[in-house]
Each structure stands twice: as C-alpha cells, then as structure tokens.
C-alpha cells in the first residue's frame, strides 16, 4: 500500500513572501489532487522531538534555532548560516521544521514495521542542512533523521537525490557510514550552489565508494540526464542491495525553474519516477520513502509533483488540468500556463552546444564508473 503524509502545519515552514521556498506550492498541489477527483486523506504525523533532531545535528546549532524560534535576537546567528537571504529567521522556525521532520520519520516507522511499502511525504526534502549549519533553505535535515532511524533499526539505506542541487548535507552526514549509499544527480557544482558533488567525492574509510555523484553540465536535457541515471543508479542499487530507498524528489531540474540550468521536461520526470519505483521493487524490497524538495516555478511543481503522486499511487495521468483549479490559482500560475498536464512537445528547441554537452556528460559518467569499479565488487 501507498501512504501520503502531510498536515496543514507544514505551511508554517515559511521564509516570507519574497522567498522562493513558498508553502503555497504544497497547498496548490493538494488542491490539484482533489480537483482531479482523488480522495486525498493524508496522514497527519506528530512533530519530531528534540532528541530526533539531535540524532544528526549538533546541540549548539539546535539551541540556536530554538532561541531564534522564540524571537530572541542573536548576533551569532550567521555563524550557523541563519539570518541570510537564503535562510531568514522567522518566529516558530524550530517547531515548523520539526513538523516536517516528524512527517518523514513517521513514514520511516511505517516502513520499518512493515505497515507500508511506499510512503510519500508531501513536503520537506531539506537536503542541504548540515550537522551544525542551516544552508540553502534547509534548517533541519529531515532526510538524514529518517536515514539515521533506518540505520539504528539495522537497515542498509540507499539515498537517491534527484533535486537540481547536490545533496551535500545528506552526503556529509553519512560520508563515513558504510550502511548508507548516497547517490546525487545534479547540475555541476562548478557553477551552481552549493559548489560540491564532484565525481571525486567518493566517501571515506569503509564507506569509500558509497558517496556517488553525477554532476551534469548546465543546460543538460532529458536524454543525457536519463542516460547518466541509467548508467549509474541501477548498477549502484543492484550492488548495494539496500533494505530501503529514500528519495529526495526535488523538481527544480525542470527547464523552467528560475534557480537552475538543467532542462528536464515533465515527460522526463514521468520516466524518472517510473524507473525509481521499478528500481525500488527490484533492489530495495519495494520499500521507498519519498519527500519533495526544491522547485520554484509554481506551474511546474504543480504538474511535476502531480505526476509523481499519480505514479506513486498507480493512477492514470489526465491530459488536462481542471479549469476550476487553474482559475483558483491563476495568480501563482502566471498568465502563460496552458491546460495540459505535460509540457508541449515543442518545449525544447534544438539547443546550440548539445553535442559537446553530451560528450562531457558521458566523460563524467565514465570517469565516475572507472573510479567506483574497485569498490563495487
């Protein structure tokens, strides 16, 4: 069975009206599921406790977030990455994040007890948060808390990050842990935030070969992206044979995302999601725990994550978006948004430099495979 997790309190994770990580994205998404005629009754999970957060974060950092949560100004905040344009301070920020962490943790527990095989947390995916730092819109690392719970349960965990950005926080927290395989496919850090996720970052000690990064050239399109994914991810999962697959399903690799430079289409996302569920079935006992993540263009994330949800539930995809939903969210969708669920076939013209990009992406994948070969035996 498949379980959806969400509660209205997730809307409290809100950095303000000017900030791209807007909670309105979730509200319009749920409204779209319902407007498409689906009974949606998500599970409301309890908030994570302080102890849950401390399973991956430093006490000093958590104490700082708690103090700022209560509105106590602190000049040291920026030492913890807080109070920056990416991570503004807001009242209630500690609890707002613990709601999100609690959701994924609840999902993890349902998988551990065998109650569910597929869980989708509608929110979160805070993959940049570091042990002692907020980073890139992420306060507590919800994914890492769930992974840590699986590890404590004795499971081996594969983490797959399809967000536009490198999943640096999760990678760093498990860089030396040989129970956790992290895979991140992203736009190259040579240009994009956070600047990491190179093929040479392979994990350390007994976990060497368990941090796997696929950095792609700016303007990479679906063909190259899916080819790179197929060259690396199935091989890694088949070799590692995890007990569960955790997925950060950011949608910011779409061509219309305002923060990034990758060029995926809705069709590419559909293929990607189908492959992820098939791979979980083949290599992770069918157990998969997904969160959302980045994705900053309202009309894109509504369509892409609806495709995710329907694929997750095994439901057919509609051709069109409901008119009533479009009218209701017109102010966020923008005037140019069409009625189709998928991007038009003509969305991506013949781009200059395509062949050179393909060659470079293939080189990167080949070099990655050369360097992990000795570890994956």
């Amino acid at each position: 069975m498949a379980a959806l997790i969400h509660r209205p309190e997730y809307a409290g994770y809100d950095f303000g009206p000017e900030h791209p990580f807007s909670p309105a994205r979730l509200e319009m998404l749920l409204d779209l599921f319902r407007s498409l005629g689906h009974e949606v009754a998500p599970i409301a999970a309890p908030a994570a406790t302080r102890e849950d957060i401390l399973s991956v974060h430093d006490e000093a950092y958590v104490a700082m977030v708690e103090a700022l949560d209560q509105g106590k100004p602190n000049l040291e905040a920026d030492r913890f990455g807080l109070g920056t344009p990416d991570n503004p301070i807001f009242p209630g920020m500690d609890l707002a994040t613990r709601w999100l962490v609690g959701g994924i943790l609840h999902g993890a527990r349902m998988l551990m007890t065998g109650k569910e095989r597929r869980v989708l947390q509608l929110g979160g995916g805070l993959h940049h948060a570091q042990k002692d730092q907020a980073a890139g819109f992420c306060l507590y690392n919800d994914l890492a808390v769930a992974i840590q719970a699986f590890v404590a349960h004795g499971w081996r965990v594969a983490y797959l990050d399809i967000d536009l950005h490198h999943g640096d926080g999760v990678q760093n927290l498990f860089y030396e842990n040989d129970r956790v395989l992290t895979l991140s496919i992203h736009e190259s850090g040579h240009y994009l935030y956070p600047g990491t996720g190179h093929i040479q970052d392979l994990g350390s000690g007994s976990a060497r070969g368990l941090s796997v990064n696929i950095p792609l050239e700016p303007f990479t399109e679906a063909g190259d992206y899916l080819e790179a994914f197929e060259s690396v991810v199935p091989r890694a999962l088949s070799w590692f044979s995890p007990d569960v697959l955790v997925v950060q399903a950011g949608a910011d690799a779409h061509f219309a995302d305002p923060l990034g430079d990758l060029a995926l289409t809705t069709q590419a996302f559909q293929t990607l999601y189908q492959r992820i569920f098939a791979l979980a079935d083949a290599h992770a006992h069918g157990r998969v725990l997904l969160t959302l993540g980045g994705g900053y263009e309202a009309q894109v994330v509504a369509r892409v994550w609806t495709i995710l949800y329907l694929t997750f539930m095994g439901l057919p995809l509609p051709e069109h978006l409901p008119a009533v939903w479009m009218d209701h969210w017109r102010h966020l969708l923008g005037p140019g948004t069409g009625r189709e669920l998928h991007d038009p076939a003509s969305a991506m013209p013949d781009l200059p430099g395509r062949e050179a990009r393909t060659r470079r992406n293939r080189d990167v994948v080949n070099r990655l495979l050369d360097s992990v070969r000795t570890y994956w035996i």
Binding site: T84, P85, D86, Y191, Y193, P194, G195, T196, F255
Partner: protein, 209 residues
C-alpha cells in the same frame, strides 16, 4: 595572504653530514618530498626525494652510495622567502625556478617551509570553494568604481561574498569571478543584467529569449 599564514612549522631538517641512506629513510618514513639541510645551525641546502633517487640510481653515470653524505647531492645555494612575503611572490619564484618548495627564513633562522601543496591549499581557500556557494562571473569595464558598483549591489541584498577573483580578459575587460553565499544567483544575475552589467555566468538559458 602571507607566507607565514600557509607555511608549515616546525620544520623537519637534516644535517649536511647525514648519510644518503639515512636521508632516504627519513623521506620514506615521514612521507616528505623535501628536507632542508643544515650545517652548524644554518640553512645550506635542500634535498628532495627526486635529487636522491637520481643521484643513487644505477642509471646515473657515477651513482652515489648510501654511505655518502647529503652535502654531495643537495641543491645549494637555496632559494628562500621571508615569512611576510605575499604568497603570490612565493608562487612566482617556485614557478620561475621550477622548484617544489621554499624554506622560510626570518633573518638567518629557519622558521618554516612552503610547498606546492600549500599553494594549492591557498588557491582553494582564495577561490572560496570550501563553503556552500555558487558562481557569478562578470566582465567589468577596466575603470575605477566598477567593482564597487557590483559589490554595493550585493551588499544591498545582504548577499555574502565568499571570494572574489579577478584577471584580465582578452577583450581588455576585467573578468571577475565571485563565489556567493546564495542559491539565488540566477535571479540576482537577471537584476544585474537589467542594471547594465555584462554577466557571463549564469548565462541566459538558450531556450528563453
């Protein structure tokens, strides 16, 4: 950045009278590639693992043996720098002379050593890639106030700059590469473009005109 901020200390040294076999052991066990050579408390040379292997190789016309002293093989006299020299000067000396290390002398006292590796560490620090950041690349006109105009723009948006590197571009303009503590560089770049800056990265997406 100054030499004394990146140099290694204390320095492991050997004596000019040390035998080549013992010097080889030292380089081998300590994992060093360079050792300053001292005589009566003064720096008189440098010996590298390469010097030693060439001098003792059976392919050499007159191979040295393990029982001969270091003074026969070391490079001497030796290039040195002052702890207060800027690292770019140290880098230029090492590049010009094709040498892998520079002993650091304060007066006649050996106070440290810098190697090519230390300069690479400095490059990584200077480029700001040790912190979560994104790249902004701008071609600035080569005249007073242009860099200030750029950084003032970032300041008004409270964007922290982790590093700035500039170098002359082929077109006479100043190529300026910044690492910013921001994941919102693309929208920033669009505002900068509207303000008349020539932004090289993030480039306009080829499918959006």
């Amino acid at each position: 950045m100054l030499v004394n901020e990146i140099m290694h200390r204390p320095v492991t040294v050997i004596q000019a009278t040390t035998l080549l076999g013992d010097a080889f052991q030292q380089l081998q066990t300590r994992g060093f590639r360079h050792l300053p050579v001292m005589e009566q408390g003064r720096l008189v040379g440098v010996i590298t693992d390469r010097d030693l292997r060439f001098a003792t190789s059976s392919l050499s016309p007159a191979p040295r043996t393990a029982g001969e002293p270091v003074s026969l093989v070391m490079s001497s006299p030796v290039m040195t720098v002052d702890p207060l020299d800027p690292i770019e000067d140290a880098a230029r000396i090492m590049r010009d002379r094709k040498i892998g290390c520079l002993p650091v002398l304060d007066g006649s006292d050996l106070v440290g050593i810098i190697t090519g590796m230390d300069l690479l560490d400095a490059l990584v620090l200077l480029t700001g890639v040790t912190k979560p950041s994104s790249r902004l690349e701008v071609a600035l006109a080569d005249r007073p106030g242009e860099l200030a105009r750029l950084t003032a723009f970032l300041a008004t948006r409270h964007v922290n700059i982790h590093s700035i590197l500039t170098h002359p571009g082929a077109d006479g303009r100043v190529r300026t590469v910044l690492r910013l503590d921001s994941s919102q560089t693309r929208p920033l770049a669009e505002t900068l473009r509207a303000d008349g800056f020539d932004i090289l990265w993030p480039a306009q997406k080829p499918w959006q005109h």
